[in-house]
């Protein structure tokens, strides 16, 4: 595979995007198109599966096969798409409400089942499309349209969750991290088996504005200043890490994926049944 121009993977006739000014989604979209280009993926053999929410629109702007499914179920559609055609590279685009809240059960089982998919979850810590309600990743104490008193629940650490569930590749990048996100997504795509890449992002319209960050620039600065590389986090106390995003790779090991294991077992069965 030879590297290509990332614009080959963008449906430029559909741009500009519908996303608000200052949204982080465009940076993640660029990182995905860049990772596709780095790997020189055949557009015909690539599928983007999306859920519902702001980030669920991302497949509209990618010039590959696209499946825009129902809220929370993108991983389940992708499971069928990949298992029925193992030649495809399948990237699954979900938000935190979509992929980790209504779709939380699918997420942990996809990590455990280990189908060869790359999930890219854009985490903006709230339901942006429906007006900024709290999700499963909204930090405790945050103000959202449905937690006006300050959110009383604790949030999921999606990387810890998917790593614990068995995903062989787990990483967190940030929309403030420049090319790093593209590299992490590329590594996820290259990794055989279930890969999980969280993109820590911002929602200036609904989330950060309600939490004292008046402009997109302030939201991005806050995210940058509250991000800690994993290596540095190792030397910090729990108290020092409170409210921070730890960025880096949290799981990176080889584990044969479902399709490969199943097909091997089925082939062995058919050999046994052949008359000798």
């Amino acid at each position: 595979m030879t590297a290509r121009d990332c614009r080959e993977y963008l449906a430029e006739n559909r741009l500009p995007t519908i996303w608000c000014p200052g949204c982080g989604n465009g940076l993640v979209l660029k990182a995905i198109a860049g990772a596709f280009a780095d790997l020189g993926l055949d557009r015909r053999k690539t599928a983007a599966v999306s859920g519902i929410g702001c980030w669920g629109w991302a497949d509209d702007y990618l010039a590959v096969n696209a499946f825009h499914g129902t809220h929370g179920r993108a991983l389940a559609f992708a499971t069928g798409i990949k298992l029925a055609n193992p030649e495809l590279t399948v990237v699954v685009l979900m938000g935190d409400g979509d992929g980790a809240t209504i779709g939380g059960n699918h997420l942990i089982h996809a990590a455990r089942r280990n189908v060869d998919l790359t999930a890219v979850v854009v985490n903006n810590y709230n339901y942006g499309m429906t007006g900024g309600q709290y999700s499963g990743t909204t930090p405790r104490g945050s103000i959202t349209s449905t937690s006006p008193l300050g959110h009383v629940e604790d949030s999921f650490d999606l990387c810890a969750l998917t790593a614990a569930a068995g995903a062989p590749f787990v990483a967190r990048g940030s929309v403030c991290g420049g090319e790093n996100l593209r590299v992490l997504i590329r590594r996820g795509l290259e990794h055989r088996g279930f890969s999980f890449v969280e993109a820590a992002s911002v929602c200036p319209t609904h989330f950060s504005r309600r939490n004292g960050l008046r402009t997109p620039a302030e939201a991005f600065s806050w995210l940058r200043d509250h991000s800690v590389p994993r290596e540095r986090a190792a030397g910090m106390t729990e108290e020092e890490l409170r409210g921070k995003q730890v960025l880096g790779v949290f799981a990176d090991h080889q584990s044969e994926d479902y399709g490969t294991r199943y097909r091997k077992a089925a082939a062995a069965l058919r050999r046994e049944e052949e008359p000798s």
């Binding site: 096969n65 499946f67 089925a266």
Partner: protein, 381 residues
């Protein structure tokens, strides 16, 4: 296990064997009584034929996985019962809106909710039709024997591909658990025909192009072919792009209903027993059609000129056949294991003012032929 040999087996196993014979290569499901033997048979048989079985975390994801596999070109199916069928409604709607072929088997059991897991019922007739939200057309077939379970499953795949639609095989616990002799015939080449590819260049392909007459259904190539395309559960234009204008939304919804309605001739099938000279008709489907057949035979023996119209297609409802029968008889009896879901449809078609009486049973037991016979006798007096 194909050819002409007779096999003694259950409806559930015959459904799975029918799927394998039809070339199904993907099953995703979640175990549930009384359909689990379909999953078990699929898990055993699919790897033998190069197919794949995957057990998902619930019925939401099972339905999603078969829709995904179908977009990759597989003939894909799942099987469930009431509680699971309720969960599948969400992504059944995705299959409807995305026009993605697949087969969903619902082995009906007594509901609502958990109900009585092992007891037969026919209470999901309307759920099969309207369970997923919004206007749409749907195809539903109802087997009344183990042979039907096999044959109708093959037909379900064929119809699903032809009309780019989910097809529901609406079985019931009685028929699915029943064991009978069945012939595992080889499907016809037409029944196993691969989906057609578009005959236009890739850049000209529009996955949601519509023939206003609904004679031509746009082919759905598999992901991974030269045709790069987008499918979506959102309102879409012919390219699969966003299309929420009033004119486009109206066109799409009318197409989703119209492609089924305008092809009734190719979809709707019924069976007629002793109807030629009948002046009383029983109209039934599934396990209740078995009771009805025995009742009609006994009625004839007793000199009562009764006949049976068996609805092997439930949706689209066989309006013309039912209306034709109602126009010829003095009364009709509709036995079913629910509180009158099919009887209501029959009454909708009763332009002739004849008495239509329902026999409803919702206690988890089958309708004895004697109950239908009594109703026929009463209808005659």
């Amino acid at each position: 296990m194909t050819g002409l040999a007779q096999v003694f087996t259950s409806g559930n196993e015959a459904i799975a064997e029918g799927a394998v014979a039809a070339g199904a290569s993907f099953y995703a499901g979640y175990p549930i009584t009384p359909s689990s033997e379909i999953a078990e048979t699929a898990a055993r048989r699919l790897p033998e034929t190069g197919g794949m079985y995957v057990q998902m975390e619930d019925e939401l994801s099972s339905m999603a996985a078969i829709v995904g596999a179908s977009v990759s070109g597989a003939r894909a199916f799942t099987a469930t019962s009431g509680p699971g069928f309720s969960l599948m409604q969400e992504n059944l709607g995705m299959a409807v809106m995305g026009e993605i072929p697949c087969v969903v088997v619902n082995v009906q059991r007594s509901g609502p909710s958990t109900g009585m897991a092992t007891k037969p019922a026919q209470g999901d007739v309307m759920q099969a039709r309207w369970g997923t939200h919004g206007d749409h057309g749907i195809i539903t077939l109802a087997p009344s024997s183990v042979q039907d379970c096999y044959d109708f499953t093959i037909r379900a795949f064929s119809l699903a591909d032809r009309f780019r639609t989910p097809v529901i095989l609406l079985a019931d616990a009685a028929v699915a658990k029943l064991k009978e002799n069945v012939r595992f015939r080889s499907p016809t080449p037409e029944e196993r025909a691969p989906r057609p590819l578009p005959n236009c260049p890739p850049e000209a392909y529009r996955p949601f192009a519509v023939d206003p007459e609904e004679k031509v259904i746009t082919p759905l190539p598999p992901f991974g072919s030269d045709y790069i395309f987008r499918v979506t559960g959102s309102m879409h234009d012919e390219t699969g792009g966003q299309g929420a204008s009033p004119a486009n939304a109206d066109r799409v919804i009318r197409h989703l209903a119209g492609k089924i309605e305008k092809n009734r001739d190719a979809i709707v099938r019924v069976r007629r027993f002793f109807l030629d000279d009948a002046d009383l008709a029983v109209i039934a489907f599934g396990c209740s059609a078995r009771s009805a057949r025995a009742a009609v035979r006994e009625a004839r023996r007793q000199g009562i000129p009764a006949g049976l119209l068996e609805l092997t297609t439930l949706w689209p409802f066989p309006d013309d056949d039912v209306r034709d029968v109602l126009s010829r008889v003095r009364g009709a009896v509709v036995p079913e294991l629910n509180l009158g879901q099919a009887a209501g449809e029959v009454r909708r078609l009763n332009d002739f003012g004849i008495p239509v009486r329902g026999i409803s049973r919702v206690d988890g037991t089958l309708i004895p032929p004697g109950d239908i016979l009594s109703a026929l006798r009463e209808a005659r007096s």
